[in-house]
């Protein structure tokens, strides 16, 4: 059952990711990205990382992507026009080369990385309490450094935008 749900949502995630790149309209691309994030949240939930799943939805799909969509709508960005022409021969060759490339990468990973035990669904110790304890004990320094980094990014954005106001 869990394997079936995993396959369904993994397929949706991959499909949305491809659609994100292929779509010409920015709003369609943004919505595909939301699809990727939503299915990733389901995958986290399957693994047992329920807090990460909720945070993924609240922060990425709910806040960041709403801002993306807001800006796209505000600027009223139109559909992207292709800037270069490609022949159909190059496209088909590209598909073959892509498959070969992916096969090569997966072969290298299989050959070099050590064998690990399979992933067990729901075994990920990801309750809110676990995540909170880890953040404020073992990973306190990275956590604080990240928050300072975000603060720097915020201040930088304001400094850059102040010229415009």
């Amino acid at each position: 059952m869990t394997a079936l749900i995993f396959l369904i949502f993994a397929a949706i995630a991959v499909f949305c990711a491809i659609s994100l790149v292929v779509q010409t309209h920015p709003v369609s691309s943004a919505l595909s990205l939301i699809g990727v994030m939503g299915s990733l949240a389901v995958l986290y939930l399957l693994l047992g990382g329920e807090f990460i799943a909720a945070a993924q939805l609240i922060v990425y799909a709910g806040a960041i992507m709403v801002l993306f969509v807001f800006v796209i709508m505000l600027l009223n960005a139109g559909a992207e026009t292709p800037t270069f022409q490609t022949s159909s021969f190059v496209k088909y060759l590209g598909i073959v080369l892509l498959v070969a490339f992916l096969g090569l990468i997966s072969f290298i990973i299989q050959a070099t990385l050590p064998k690990t035990e399979g992933v067990i669904f729901g075994n990920f110790q990801g309750t809110a309490a676990d995540v909170g304890l880890k953040l404020f004990t073992s990973y306190l320094l990275p956590f604080e450094v990240t928050s300072v980094l975000i603060l720097i990014a915020l201040v930088g954005a304001i400094v850059l935008a102040r010229k415009e106001i």
């Binding site: 709003v27 919505l31 329920e50 807090f51 909720a54 939805l57 709403v66």
Partner: protein, 396 residues
Amino acid sequence: MNFFILTLIKVAVVAFVLLTTLAYLQWIERKVIAHVQLRVGPYRVGPHGLLQPLADVVKLITKEGLMPSHVNKVFYLMAPFVAVLLALISIAVIPFGPEIKIGPVTTWMQLTDLRIGILFVIAISSIGVYGVALGGWASNNKYSLLGGLRSSAQMISYELPLALAVAAPLLLANTLSFREMVNYQSGYWLGFIPRWNVIPEIIGFIIFMIASFAETNRVPFDLPEAENELVAGFHTEYSSMNFAAFFMAEYANMVTVTAVATLIFLGGWQPPFPEPYSDAIPILIFALAGLIAVYHGVHPARRMDKFTLPATGLVFLGIAAIFGLSLFVPMLKAILMALFWFCGKVLFLLFVFIWVRATLPRFRYDQLMRFAWIFLFPLAMINLLATSLIVALTTK
């Protein structure tokens, strides 16, 4: 398999009750606003307009669904669907009462319990804005687009104070599950003051209510559909069932928000008085309402319609009798008392929503944004910091 059938029955009951409530909420809203403004409201279809929701549903279904030219068809048709889906889905994690026993079956009055139920509701409400934003954008209409833009800006801004206001009681109860939240609020201080979160967290409760008005796009924060500026805002171009879906989503969001406020701040299904007294309250309320309705219905000064009020009064007296009988059947009593207090609190908060709509004028857009960022957000932050300080000092 037993679990499967049980869940199916619960889903059917909850869906039926929820959809009926949504239809009649609109009737209640029109009636309450009408009486606030000294009108009678819907009166023609059925006694006291009681069949008006059915007539509205028939009207909306049989209307032609118009499609404006040059719209993005996929997004235009998807938007109302997304809005109503995300509005209805939250009810799945909301508990209506404690664990009950019907014959051999023991079950919770809740569809499913998540350990992160409260986070789930916040997550769903935070992505609920896409329906409105997409509908406004896809309609190919500048008023719709402005409505959608306002809605997304407003929902991002008010989500922060909303989430911070919810976080403070979470710290007190030390849980993210609705069930444990309600269990934490059981019992009484000094034997008669209910241990509801609203008492230590009164500021948080007020912030939550104000922010939820903005999250559900209700007056005084209904800028996305301000009639005098934007025609009808994001749903200007929608007609027929597509329009009805947006309408339903708004009411479903109201029900969700009030249910969450009830569970987090007002103690869920816990009665406000200790056990023997709280049992008498529903009987008294329904008996009194029934007697008043019967008295006014058969009063000689009433010339027309001598049937509706006495009939309603008799129904109320019957409900009072059922509550009286349930005192002798513990199984029935547990269900009825929980439902009475939960629904009573939710209906009271819904009444506040309607009352505010009938009373307050609409904010200006810059006032709305300034209020959120300069007043509400810092206040919620201070409230959260003070609560966490107290929790840190009092717990070992």
